[in-house]
Amino acid sequence: MNLESIPLQAFLIVSSALFCIGIWGLLNSRNAVRVLMSIELMLNAVNINLMAFSSYIDNNLIQGQVFTIFVITVAAAEAAVGLAILLSLYRNRVTVDMESFNLLKW
């Protein structure tokens, strides 16, 4: 095997695996904090994808890196609001079990 650099596909496979692990955690976690962590994992997978494409396909204009910075900004805002919602939920329900937040269930 004689390669000049790391292939783009290696980064894409790592980010695909990270995204699927995030989805699995989102579907299977019962602790609401862990659900937020899974969302952060998925956002990081998307960021790796954007960075790999910006480095391999658009390596002069690097618009992918600018998009990654915006995604990081939105992720920080999302984490702050999500944890505030979690705190007020905990204040009302005295639990963080996802199965007990069933007010909108029909």
């Binding site: 994992l41 805002a77 702050a80 944890l83 639990t95």
Partner: protein
């Protein structure tokens, strides 16, 4: 293969192993505190992957924002809501696990198939600006991405105010339903949960 390429490969393999195994630990470990610290490790390794892609500014932003802000926020949230509780057993948990695992594996195989079979239109490395990327990001942010940049500042302000409003403890002098004076010490411990369980 020159020694620089070999070093890059070794770094990439180590960092991706840390990312994948750390992410598995985040979703699989019993203790939520271990998950939070592993999440910090995953964020640091992702920053290392960015360094491999010649993006030092984004790597620094990743470390500052994710490890310094988001992870600390998550650890604070764990500290505030950490209560040992016995989770109610769900009767169809096994089938749910199997179905969700199947869905995730199917999605993973589809994504990997797309990754490997698509013919990516790679640009030549001669055009690469390499370590100049910080300058280019600054040019982008103040020319063609100026409007999203300003909107992002408004979004951060909205998120800050929203988080304060949501997480603020409402101090009421008397209870809404009963009219009795409220014990100001531990509101959430002394009062009944506002939203009772449906079933």
């Amino acid at each position: 293969m020159s020694i620089a390429i070999t070093t890059q490969f070794i770094c990439f393999i180590v960092l991706s192993l840390v990312v994948i195994i750390g992410a598995l630990g985040v979703v699989l470990l019993e203790s939520i505190v271990y998950s939070a610290f592993l999440l910090g490790g995953v964020f640091m390794s992702v920053a290392g992957l960015y360094l491999l892609l010649n993006a030092s500014f984004v790597a620094a932003a990743q470390v500052l924002v994710y490890v310094g802000a988001v992870n600390v926020l998550i650890i604070f949230a764990i500290m505030l809501v950490n209560k040992k509780e016995d989770l109610k057993p769900i009767n169809d948990i096994k089938s749910r696990r199997i179905i969700s695992t199947l869905i995730c594996l199917t999605l993973l195989s589809l994504l990997i198939r797309v990754d490997l079979t698509n013919a990516w239109n790679l640009s030549s490395p001669q055009n690469s600006i390499g370590e100049e990327s910080t300058i280019r990001i600054g040019e982008h942010l103040f020319s063609d991405y100026l409007l999203p940049f300003e909107v992002a500042s408004v979004l951060l302000l909205m998120a800050m105010i929203g988080a304060i409003v949501l997480a603020r403890r409402d101090v009421m002098s008397k209870d809404i339903s009963t009219g009795l004076p409220v014990d100001q010490e531990l509101i959430e411990k002394s009062s009944e949960p506002l939203l009772t369980n449906k079933n």
